[in-house]
Amino acid sequence: MTAVLEKKPVQVAPKEPRRWKGAALFAAVAVVALVVMPLVLEPFRLGLLAKYLCYAIVALGIGLAWGQGGMLTLGQGVFFGLGGYAMGMYLKLNDAGGDLPDFMVWSGVEQLPALWAPFRNPVLALAMVVLVPLVVAALLGTLVFRQRVRGAYFAILTQALAAAMVILLVGQQGLTGGTNGLTNFFDFFGNDISAESTQRGLYLTVAIVLGVLYLAAWQLVRSRFGRLLLAVRDGEDRVRFLGYNPATVKTITFTISAVMAGIAGALFVPVVGIISPALLGVVPSLELVVAVAVGGRFALAGAVLGAVVMGYAKTYFSEELPDAWLYLQGALFILVMTLAPKGIVGVAGALRDRFRKEAAA
């Protein structure tokens, strides 16, 4: 043990200032998001940002599951869709008054399907936004993680689910609106859904929900559970011999990430005005994973940042060079994973450290 004792203890940076800095940064971002953006952005641009923030909520969940927990989930679109359709179904029924939703009439459905009945009630519908993804993810996680399915197998499984979900939705035209999905909404809890004030309120709601979920995720990551999650990511088999069941830890985390995606989907629907299979299949699910990787999957802030940055990039490039975007995205993913596995946040951190060193020298 002499070797141990001889080693000079390294002073750890005092924690308080760092926490304070983090809180200050969070507050600054919150002010920009809640005060500055609504003032400077025209309604159309604010709507776009609201959409990206919805994706950021999904990304936050991916950051938890993948970055912290090592579960590469390629099918978050499934949960996004479950939340989105729950909201969409409520809005359709609400708009239809006591009648059938328009698309059902067009596809010759004569009676409201039993599956739709609970969504008449707004409270029940909102509960479903959380409960359906929660139950589906908890069941899936229990089955899959108990059997020790992990790594690429888990990734492929989630991707297959996203593909299956699309097929299911498209195939049930009368029940789901098929390829077109659910759209043409008018009323949102007593407000004209397309009115500027409604949309601004929606934007603020999305930003606040993101902020609250971010803080919750931050607390989770900092807690003992968060340490345990990292341990599961880095050595699942060793964790068992510390007396914990990794399957439980993973199921809980995966379920949290699914609920986040569900909430994001529900917010997305009134913001964008549509939910359809194209918005939740394999490609959108993958795009968000790429975004999280680009932003930096090991930091929650990186996941959120990635979603917003890639959202803007997609809008810009799809307008300027529509065909190049897909390839650009793929190339970016490969670049990040090989050269900067910690993403934008990691690069920024490295630059800051270098800058400090030079300043100190």
């Binding site: 043990m1 002499t2 141990v4 203890p9 340490r227 990292l230 341990a231 011999f241 510390l242």
Partner: protein, 253 residues
């Protein structure tokens, strides 16, 4: 004292190879038992079976009178069986303190884990002191040296507070000084715990062991005191002789 661990007629076959072949093995409460045998004798495999990592082909393991059949790894830990690994595995992204804290926290209800760690618990503090890692507490485990990792693993095992401790070659690669400290630590732990230690080093055995079980080719070759084991010609033949051939000079006292 009653038997804490009872292994009966245990066998395990890997692709037709019998790594454990009809082993009976009993350890009483409070015992400090050493398990020796040449490379490939099946020592690690035996511990793997006891802790649930490997499923036996035939035979039974019971702990405190309760059969362990069908119990998964973490459930066995919860019953009070703890182990270390031959090549120590610690969580490199976590600090030394966090590694120990995690090991000490598994009995807490899952919901309470959602709170942040608040200071250093007494158990963890004691584990830090026992292992001499106090000054490294805030460092990431990834930067530890080989010996320090082994200490951390032993610390994690202590922090778990198990009734039965299984240590797989805890002093391999340690300096003479560190070995003595580990030996004394084991002796003091063994005062109020049941401990099984896999160890090759005869000198270490001579100093700290009382009861020794010798495994050879998956079978129990003999059991007895260190003196009896060292004097036994069969042991010298299969274990010491072979070790000499392999020029593992530190094995021969």
């Amino acid at each position: 004292m009653s038997a804490l661990l009872e292994v009966r007629d245990l066998s395990v076959v890997f692709d037709g190879f019998r790594a454990i072949d009809g082993v009976d093995f009993t350890v009483r409460e409070g015992e400090l038992r050493f398990l020796i045998g040449p490379n490939g004798a099946g020592k690690t495999t035996l511990i793997d079976i006891i802790t649930g990592l490997t499923r036996p082909t035939t035979g039974t393991v019971s702990f405190d009178g309760q059969s362990l059949a069908g119990k998964r790894e973490h459930e066995r830990v919860r019953l009070g069986i703890g182990r270390t690994f031959q090549t120590s595995v610690v969580f490199e992204e976590l600090t030394v303190l966090e590694n120990l804290d995690l090991a000490a926290s598994f009995r807490r209800p899952l919901l309470s884990l959602l709170a942040r760690r608040n200071g250093v618990s007494e158990t963890v503090q004691r584990a830090l002191e026992t292992t001499g890692l106090t000054e490294l507490a805030a460092r990431k485990a990834g930067v530890l040296s080989h010996g320090q990792r082994q200490w951390l693993e032993i610390g994690m095992l202590i922090a778990q507070g198990p009734r039965l401790l299984l240590l797989d070659e805890p002093v391999a690669g340690m300096s003479g000084d560190e070995r003595s400290r580990t030996g004394e630590l084991l002796t003091s732990i063994a005062k109020d715990h049941t401990v099984i230690v896999i160890e090759h080093d005869m000198e270490f055995l001579r100093r700290y062991a009382s009861q020794v079980t010798v495994l050879h080719e998956g079978k129990v070759l003999m059991e007895g005191s260190v003196e009896e084991v060292r004097a036994d010609p069969r042991v010298q033949e299969v274990y010491l002789g072979r070790a000499r051939e392999e020029a593992a000079h530190d094995v021969v006292s």
